[in-house]
Symmetry: C2
Subunit: 195 residues, 2 copies
Amino acid sequence: MAVDTALLTLDPAEPELMVLQVRRADAGWGLPGTFLHPGERLADAVERSLQDKADVRGLRPRQLHVYDDPGRDSRGWALSVAHVEVVPIRRLDSRRPGQTRLVAVARPGRLRYGHAEIIARAVEHVRDRYAEQPDPGHLLGRQFTLGELHRVHQAVAGRPLQRDGFRRLMKPLLRPTGHLVTRTGGRPAELFRRT
Amino acid sequence: MAVDTALLTLDPAEPELMVLQVRRADAGWGLPGTFLHPGERLADAVERSLQDKADVRGLRPRQLHVYDDPGRDSRGWALSVAHVEVVPIRRLDSRRPGQTRLVAVARPGRLRYGHAEIIARAVEHVRDRYAEQPDPGHLLGRQFTLGELHRVHQAVAGRPLQRDGFRRLMKPLLRPTGHLVTRTGGRPAELFRRT
DNA sequence: TGAATAGTGTCTCTGAGACATTATTTA
DNA sequence: TAAATAATGTCTCAGAGACACTATTCA
């Protein structure tokens, strides 16, 4: 019994969803994963694998699907529970260089063990969540402007989102702080928090 | 590693979703389930457990969630992959009397191993599917009238669905057969098929 | 003819798409 | 003042809710 995790993040330079990959024992790249210890919970195994490979903690991975194809892993019969998690890129700063990489989800490379399918499912899941909630993965901090939220959601969605429609959808889901910020050289923007 | 299945059906007499329960070794009632054989696929284990306990075959169970609470099963550490399937009640005719029962999903009884939670999740899943597609679980046969479809969907949803709104939603998703039937003592109804 | 069921028409309200306009800052 | 960004206004269209009306059968 194993767990595999698609850990997604955003690189501010590249307005596109990225997935963390780790170097595997067989020299290829793949998703971080591990075998379950006896009595261990799935979420703990996910956290353990990410801590070992990317030094990230305090996650709340979500189950996606159980992959049970017997021919999936040539080393033997092993079920894998695929998970997804979203994390701001600054929390990946301490990951091991050379042993990990961030790859655009649209071009994950040739991966074994059905990992490309897991990534596709993870992206779909995250996009569905972002379509309904303002930044549920906390890619932004506690406070942000609607413009910043708009850019993050466009990057997650992988396509432009209409500006005014987006504002109308999200504004009732946010709590205004009453403060204004000028960060960009335009009219000051109102700061919001999640509710 | 185990599988458990919430097998849902409709009793024409009771316009409410029912779930199949089986008598367990400890004399209580629960969902049908089994332990996975080495190398066996999850769908095959589900089918095997339902065949043994309710004599139903040819199913396409869908994964719901993996339950991994270590204290879930007092007999030892076992993960369970919950599944859901919908089946017309006539296919349950040959199930073992005394060893099985059909219970309204709203009143599943006091179940162990978190089976009540599985049922709740299964019902939610099935209701979501029925909100978008005409009878995806094939509770009706190949041909049916919009009135029959309406009654089935109301029973699945557990609440009244507006008649004309339902028709407008479903009609473009159906293929008319061109035939009329008089089954109820009113104006003859048009027969439709799934697309 | 009346009850029961099937099928259609239409009004309103809401929400999304699309576009335009105003507001405030920096260079 | 021009460019950039933020915020708001408004027109239209599609879909859902709600209600009314017509059609056809059986008792």
